[in-house]
Symmetry: none
Subunit: 241 residues, 2 copies
Amino acid sequence: MPKFTKPIRVYFSPDKKLHESLKNVLGFYPTNISLYKLAFRHSSAAQVIKKGVRDSNERLEFLGDSVIGMVVADYLFKKFPFKDEGFLTKMRSKMVSRQQHNQLAMKLGLNKFLEVNNDRQNNKSSSINGDAYEALIGAIYLDKGYVFAQQFILTRIVNVHIDMDEVETKEVDFKSKLIEWVQKEKKEFRFETLVDGASSDDKLYCIQLVVDNEAIGKAQHFSKKRAEQLVAELACGILEI
Amino acid sequence: MPKFTKPIRVYFSPDKKLHESLKNVLGFYPTNISLYKLAFRHSSAAQVIKKGVRDSNERLEFLGDSVIGMVVADYLFKKFPFKDEGFLTKMRSKMVSRQQHNQLAMKLGLNKFLEVNNDRQNNKSSSINGDAYEALIGAIYLDKGYVFAQQFILTRIVNVHIDMDEVETKEVDFKSKLIEWVQKEKKEFRFETLVDGASSDDKLYCIQLVVDNEAIGKAQHFSKKRAEQLVAELACGILEI
């Protein structure tokens, strides 16, 4: 990574504090600080800046998601020269899962930078932190370029926070994992369809997981199966399965 | 793009002909020609080089797919500064579809480089060309680096072969996709007209999709065809087609 001496602009920036906090977390001083502010702005706290456009982190999340996918693909390709593409694909999907990104965001402490409007955010989305992580990578990519973003992901994320042996052996099917757990613990559980995508306007299924008559969480997706997997993944996190 | 003078190694290469053909198609001389040979080797023509590993283009395809996804995400992000991430996601999925990649491969004339063993290739896969295109991008990325691969995709593919207006207006034909799937899976399906727009008060058609006697979902529209497309789109999500 390049030199980390404090740039003169930081001394005179109105966002001096944010510059310093980000330096502590990321290991470098941002050049264009507004990109990072945007990366931490959840849609609930966003303003409409133009008809149909809001200044939330969702566009950066789209970009960052691609950057991470590319960097991880390159990393796996070189790390496992004798594994086939099926193995690489599986490994990547585990390394870039929503759960993984949420965990990484917490490890980096991104939650303290988040700009969220709790009044407007009705459905407590479980992926706010992971989304901000992806948006942050998008911001780093735009601010510093591909090679810098790649170095950041490899040296400060993959090498430090990801245990590759654990990823390799980790289960992905969260629903099976959950069912195994409830059977072992002799608990009762059910998936409740709160919104049936087939008849709802936006075609989204909303599935709630109930364990021993206690609602654990809910998830939305266009596919009912996928929504069940998502809420199962969420529950595995909450119940520490 | 960098200079295109003929490098000395080409004069002495046993693959001089391939070097020249690739120069004609790609616009540059490859540095590591073996990567390009690998990119054009379909799994049917591959040899086992180590237990469980074959020297086919599938690993390069995995890598190239990520490179294309990243380059296209970056391109769309900058081309459409006022569009939301839903629009960007849709555009990208149209730009990197199997159909699109097959077409690009044919336009570049990659089929004449392909190494396929027709005896061993039983199921005539329709994506051989598109897969080779993805693998070629993976080879360019490894051979020349990210920035070069990005420049190649933008200047020699996107700017020349992709009509962005056409991509933007193109509808994904979910009905064809669904029909293809039910035929492959040997299932029965039908569209049921629950409400006939021609005779109903609000002129809305309500169409229900039934697969193997199970109602998958329904959709409404003033146009019967559009309602069928909508319910097919919904089904593609639910059935994970």
